[in-house]
Amino acid sequence: MLFYIIKRILMTALVLLLVVVFLSLLVHIVPGDPATTILGPRATPGLVQKMREAMDLDKPLYVQISNFVWNLLRGSLGVDAVTGAPINKLVGSALPHTLILAISSLGLAILFGIPMGVYSATHPNSPADRILAVLSISLTTIPSYVAGLFLLLIFAVELHTLPAMGIGKTGDIWDYVRHLILPSVALAITWIGYLSRLVRTSLLEVLNETYIRASRAAGLSERLVRYRYALKNALIPTVAVLGVGLGSLMGGAVFVEIIFTRPGMGLLIYNAIQVRNYPLVRAGVLIVAILFILTNFIADLVYTYLDPRIQLNKRQG
């Protein structure tokens, strides 16, 4: 187990290093100079040179990469080329909003998706099961930005019941929650459908296992068998998927943050891209990649803990 964790951490570090190299390489593959792009065609050569220095672009590629990695190891993401602000500060203020959004969406998905799946699996082929099946497959096919725009149209533009923009007044938690409702529902919709289908399938599988039949034959109540014994095992694959889910929800957050102008990581990176603010793009994408890898890693560990039959080092193949 320890060996596996060490191996996994080393692999993760290697992948992250490659991510940095890849992001640094990208800027060189492309024709044109980011400094000129930021400053526009009328910038003086002196200004362009200054901007290139600010972005480390005047140095050879390996120096750029080692500088970036060295700063990263010391806990600094560098300096924003456009405003001169430390990127740590920008990421520090944006990241919590994205994490809160992703976690609350995941919470909504669990809250609605799992009961839907359990109900379907415990009433297989009933009319309700069929309706839930069509409903959940339909939910999985609605892109988050379509869901977001529709919610915006209904609740903010037509009904004026929920706010459409921003995160509310600072310090007002109730206002923050009100601003969180539409974005997190928009982001959760796909996952509600997805979880419901996943839970239904795995619960149906578990309910056919011999130990469940044995428990029933022993006269245990159906309630106990279903919710205590079967559901516990049926939720194991769900945990693995939830880890991946948190990461991909942070990706999907880009759309939702644009639509609802939430000042999170997605909007930060998107705005940086609009002005070709290359150091900020690199740092932002790297942070999201680190979180993405981390959540997958944690989900894997939880997965082994829940189901000791799974040997992590044998799952590598």
Binding site: M11, L14, V15, L16, L18, V19, F22, L23, L26, V27, I29, V30, S120, R130, L132, A133, V134, S136, I137, S138, T140, T141, I142, P143, Y145, V146, L149, F150, L152, L153, V157, E158, S196, R197, L198, R200, T201, G247, S248, M250, G251, G252, V254, F255, I258, I259, I269, Y270, I273, R276, Y278, V281, R282, V285, V288, A289, F292, I293, G317
Partner: protein, 296 residues
């Protein structure tokens, strides 16, 4: 050689099971899916005949109108016919999805075959490269690349191809690893067949089916992905009527008219639903073993 029975390859097995479509259409949701996919294909093929107006034609005096007999689904902020734009938009959805999935499929097959067959260092290098590509949420990877390449249809196709490729490489690699050890491959090798011949004539036909099925199932996701990129202004350029661009125009004028968002959002969601239903019905017919996640 004749003592070792060579399995009929999976394409052959698949073809033997025709008529597949009949089986798909025996499922109610398969019929719904097929009808939507058919409508989509007809719209792609006959867009100029179906669309009453040119997608870029402006009728400024009648801008932001609701549905009427002149403009079936209404007009957008510069008086373009929304219905015509949606019909032509299917061509962009199709024209992006097919080549980008094609690129992902071909590159993924190639890398997966090499990784699975060669093993060792080559395998490790390819696997780490795939891990790197999958270390980002795909939308972030695409945005980072498009930020530098600049938005255009070709770039979107390349980026989607690159982002989707690891999925296929993984599937093909896993299959190749198991097929590599089969007796008929051993036999070919001992008879002195070259690696290239073994790979492409003997292993490839036996490992390709799951990747093709995966590609069919991926089409709707690629369509929504392209629309998402266009929505953010990172996809095709105006006045091209990408569904995402129509949504984006609608978003910018959301307080003046709701029709562009409503229709383009519904079109996107319905198309995705249709392709998903059809793909799942197809999967259940072709490969019942894979039907683990199906809800019906």
């Amino acid at each position: 050689m004749q003592y070792i029975e060579k399995p009929t390859n999976s394409i052959q097995r698949t073809l033997d099971r025709l008529p597949i479509l009949g089986d798909v259409l025996r499922q109610p949701l398969g019929v719904v899916g097929f009808a939507i996919v058919l409508a989509f294909v007809i719209s792609v093929l006959f867009a100029p005949l179906i669309a009453p107006y040119d997608y870029a034609r402006q009728d400024i005096p009648n801008r932001m109108q609701g549905p009427s007999t002149t403009y079936w689904l209404g007009t957008d902020h510069i008086g373009r016919d929304i219905f015509s734009r949606l019909v032509y938009g299917s061509r962009i959805a199709f024209g992006t999805a097919i080549p980008s999935v094609g690129i992902a499929l071909v590159a993924g097959i190639f890398l997966g075959l090499i990784a699975g067959y060669a093993g060792g260092v080559v395998d490790n290098v390819i696997v780490v490269f795939m891990d790197m590509l999958q270390a980002f949420p795909s939308i972030m990877l695409s945005l980072a690349i498009l930020a530098l390449l600049g938005p255009s249809l070709i770039n979107v196709i390349i980026v989607i191809g690159l982002t989707w490729m690891p999925n296929y490489a993984r599937v093909i690699r896993a299959q190749t690893l198991s097929v590599r050890e089969k007796a008929y491959v051993e036999a070919e090798r001992s008879l002195g067949a070259r690696d290239r011949a073994i790979l492409f004539s003997h292993i490839l036909p036996n490992v390709i089916a799951p990747a093709l099925l995966l590609a069919a199932m991926d089409l709707p996701w690629v369509i929504t992905f392209e629309a998402g990129l266009s929505f953010m202004g990172m996809g095709v350029r105006p006045p091209s009527p990408s569904w995402g661009a129509i949504l984006s125009d609608g978003f910018n004028h959301i307080f003046e008219s709701q029709w562009p968002i409503l229709w383009s959002g519904l079109t996107l969601a319905l198309t995705t639903l249709g392709f998903t239903l059809f793909g799942e019905a197809l999967r259940d017919v072709l490969d019942p073993r894979l039907s683990g996640t199906r809800g019906l």
